[in-house]
């Protein structure tokens, strides 16, 4: 089995390459999950606050 991992001396490079790729994938998945969770939380907070009414400007002509 160890011969398989040796891969004729190149094992270290191949496995570390796959390792890095796996790590990048996992990091991205985790980052996305964190971002989605915080966005959902923020949305829930905003949902509880009343919607802030925007001011209606008044236009009148001077006599």
């Amino acid at each position: 089995m160890s011969e398989y991992f040796q891969m004729g001396g190149h094992g270290a490079y191949v496995w570390s390459a796959y390792g890095i790729t796996l790590a990048v994938l996992i990091i991205n998945v985790w980052l996305v999950r964190v971002k989605r969770r915080s966005a959902l939380l923020r949305a829930q907070e905003l949902a509880t606050q009343a919607e802030v009414p925007r001011k209606q400007p008044t236009v009148r002509r001077l006599q």
Binding site: Y13, V14, L31, R36, L46, V52
Partner: protein, 250 residues
């Protein structure tokens, strides 16, 4: 300029959010499955390459991650251009979502490229390999985009300014690619790591294509998930989100 109806649908956040919600599980599941199958096939079953020995097996991840990085930049630039010209906020959200994923994949491509070159070149950083140099410059373009994006506090201005940078960047990519290739051909360093790598027999090619499909689906899965988070952040106080959150809470 009158735009087709489906384009408007693509422009409305609630519709895209629900579309993403439906599509994501499929994209994610299929993508990861393909990656798993491709890896096992590539590492286990595919024959060793007579010339490079085992290190060629990195060919199942390096070209793919580089290609995803490039695709991410193009997606970012197109989305940014659409957002800038037609003022579609959602397009800006898509551009913002594509950038970090693209940066990560380009970084990954750099690492795997360096590791691939190590046994054949003897150095971790082959100045001779034009693709490594191109990927490095692409990574800098991504980092520039993310840095510029981070420097703004007002989101609308950040969207439109970074959109211009994205378009300027995508115009420069073919120029950089050509000039790096040209620069490499001058120094006559023989590179056996052409894009396709050594001539691939069919049983090497199948896992290669599976991995390409796997990475593509995974990219779009991550993109859609990020896009959803971006939509929630941008449309925070919209009514449809209140209902959505209420549904979620129930």
């Amino acid at each position: 300029m009158k735009l087709p109806r489906w384009f408007h649908l693509l422009g409305s956040p609630p519709h895209v959010y629900r579309l993403a919600e439906r599509l994501s599980p499929w994209l994610g599941g299929l993508g990861c499955a393909l990656l798993a199958v491709g890896t096992v096939w590539g590492l286990g079953i595919a024959p060793t390459d007579y010339q490079q020995g085992e290190s060629y097996r990195i060919i199942y991840i390096h070209p793919q991650t580089a290609y995803v990085g490039m695709m991410a930049y193009v997606v970012m630039a197109v989305a940014a251009a659409v957002g800038y010209v037609w003022r579609v906020k959602l397009a800006h959200a898509a551009a913002v979502s594509a950038a970090p994923i693209g940066a990560w994949f380009t970084f990954c491509a750099l690492c795997t490229g360096a590791l691939w070159g190590r046994p054949t070149w003897g150095t971790y950083w082959q100045w001779g390999d034009p693709r490594i140099m191109f990927e490095a410059l692409l990574l800098f373009l991504f980092l520039g985009y993310l840095a510029l994006r981070g420097a703004f506090d007002d989101r609308d201005k950040a969207d439109r300014v970074t959109a211009i940078l994205a378009v300027v960047g995508v115009v420069n990519i073919p120029i950089i690619h050509y000039s790096v290739e040209w620069w490499n051909s001058l120094h006559q360093t023989s590179t056996i790591l052409r894009e396709g790598g050594p001539a691939m027999t069919t049983d090497m090619l199948i896992p290669f294509l599976i991995m390409v499909a796997g990475f593509t689906l995974t990219f779009y899965w991550l993109l859609l998930r990020r896009l959803q988070a971006e939509i929630l952040e941008r449309e925070g106080s919209a009514r449809w989100i209140r209902e959505l959150v209420a549904e979620g809470a129930r």
